[in-house]
Homo-oligomer: 366 residues x 2
Amino acid sequence: MKTTILSADHLRQIVRRVGLDRLMDETIGRLTEACAGLDARETVVPARAGFSYNRPDLGLLEWMPGMATGAGVQIKVVGYHPGNGRSHGLPTVLSTLSTYSVESGRLMGLMDATLVTAMRTGAASAVASRILADPESSSLGIIGCGAQAVTQLHALSRVFPLRRVYVHDTDPVAVASFQQRIHCLGLDAVAIVPAPVHTFLDQVDMLCTATSVGVGEGPVFEDGPLRPHVHVNAIGSDFPGKIELPEALLRRALVCPDFTEQALKEGECQRLEPRALGPDLPTLVKEQACHRRARDGLTVFDSTGWAVEDMVSMALFMEHAAALGIGAEVQVESVSSDYRHPYQFLYDAPAGEAGPSPDGRLKRVV
Amino acid sequence: MKTTILSADHLRQIVRRVGLDRLMDETIGRLTEACAGLDARETVVPARAGFSYNRPDLGLLEWMPGMATGAGVQIKVVGYHPGNGRSHGLPTVLSTLSTYSVESGRLMGLMDATLVTAMRTGAASAVASRILADPESSSLGIIGCGAQAVTQLHALSRVFPLRRVYVHDTDPVAVASFQQRIHCLGLDAVAIVPAPVHTFLDQVDMLCTATSVGVGEGPVFEDGPLRPHVHVNAIGSDFPGKIELPEALLRRALVCPDFTEQALKEGECQRLEPRALGPDLPTLVKEQACHRRARDGLTVFDSTGWAVEDMVSMALFMEHAAALGIGAEVQVESVSSDYRHPYQFLYDAPAGEAGPSPDGRLKRVV
């Protein structure tokens, strides 16, 4: 009855063994399958809830639950702290994922979701873009060059023949370091071109916004002439009042949210009427044959983050971990040999459990 | 930036070192202090939410978040699976507690909450009973002799001069094993008397209901004559439609909920109008001088479970763990040396981190 814990170090081992490209490809593939097979009666995803605060700093802590009925419950807890980089040298988004058994309620697994969130957000853009963007898209504009930009580029580079990527950020350090940060992706054929947004807006096949723009401070660029077939992945909008795209652009595009209910509250869609929205991500995948014609026009994927993406990613990493024998098994919950006796476990001495060593620490860690 | 994980084994070590009675006394003391000092503007406790289902079996998984503004966020995840004992030999309630930093959003700690939930539920009854029950109460009737009954008795035995405890359960095995299960409490002066409810209803100073009665199947005993000063701790009611007490009893009592908003939805209070309720637990503690006179009459503590109880308990165990050097420190979240580079940590080799051994497992577990 142990909990599998995948630490950052375990993820490092998994990625080193499986490969980053293969993991991204599998995430894209499995998310596509999950969308295609989604039965809304069986997969229950309540809109996320959370605490937002401005003490000690501006921050947001949210829980994103999801249930595959009869199979499992998962909760992702996500912290969004835009001052993390400056104040603590930490990513803006820090996150963990937990799964629970619907048979007994026990904690089945816990893992880092910081990597997974970045990867699955990239993968979701790839899934949407594969349907909505020109398959020959070779140029991409990225507005906001932080952590998410790396995985957006990674995911798109797996499904499009990218040659030229324009990058912009209000922070010149983010722009200057981008080339070095994507070095590990091995995109030798791709030219990274730092440039102001207005200079590349009419030069790109795809656009990606992934900023930490403040509430009420968007949009992050001014509307202007775009190529007629442009597809936009809008990643950053995930809070009431936080928006990245010019409203006029939004209104003339086919806007596809990942998760409609949430996008209307927190995404670019918060400025649109429900009836003005296009199909959501699973519908897009299921009906891709009829939505592919949208490629000729302006399209937007409004990505706010969807629990099913996390389910897919966690399952993928847990499967690799099990196959490779990576991870720690920890008896987290106290379970007594007599289930009616909450203190019994204090006196149980389970086989294989080491006793306290002289300094009071367990010989066997965890 | 590590997460402190307290496993069942760590809790065992802490209890062995600190002592079960002292931990219960400290939980009661700290919960009293927390109630006395509670500032509702600073402590934010949303009503819990969750998934309930009947596949594969009847079950409920809930998350109970709480925030001490500017200090920390905590989420308890609780599984309630009434078939756990029969099907898996596991407790009905399985639970874990996590805390998160409001500075960065990172996961600060994770621990078993099965023990803590049982202990703090006992402690909450002790806090309420110390104000609402006759301080000389020596007799107690327990209806429902499962896991919660053990900690209810433990907590009450710490603050009342108990001599006689009547016990009843629809399952004769639960009754027959109760004496043995409380052996560890060392209550040599207390006589445990199995008996039908109607035979002890007018014999006790305090009553405790802690059953797994089904929705729509309550109350768990028939109303009858009680001693005028009886105090009831109603523990089991925690779901819409699940109730334990006869409505007539409830209507002639002063009913004090732990957490009003939740008790009106899930507790005994679901049958009462908000204006018919007495003070909640923190108000009771703050204004105990004026509520003590309620001791002469019939009182009910409607205990549905309150996040502040969990905050107090988790803090207590984490403090003991830190003082004793018990617990595991795990780098759960993937944090790159460059916070803008989500993949950097894959290539970082932090000091003290062991590399993969030939069989692909880390030399240092977790």
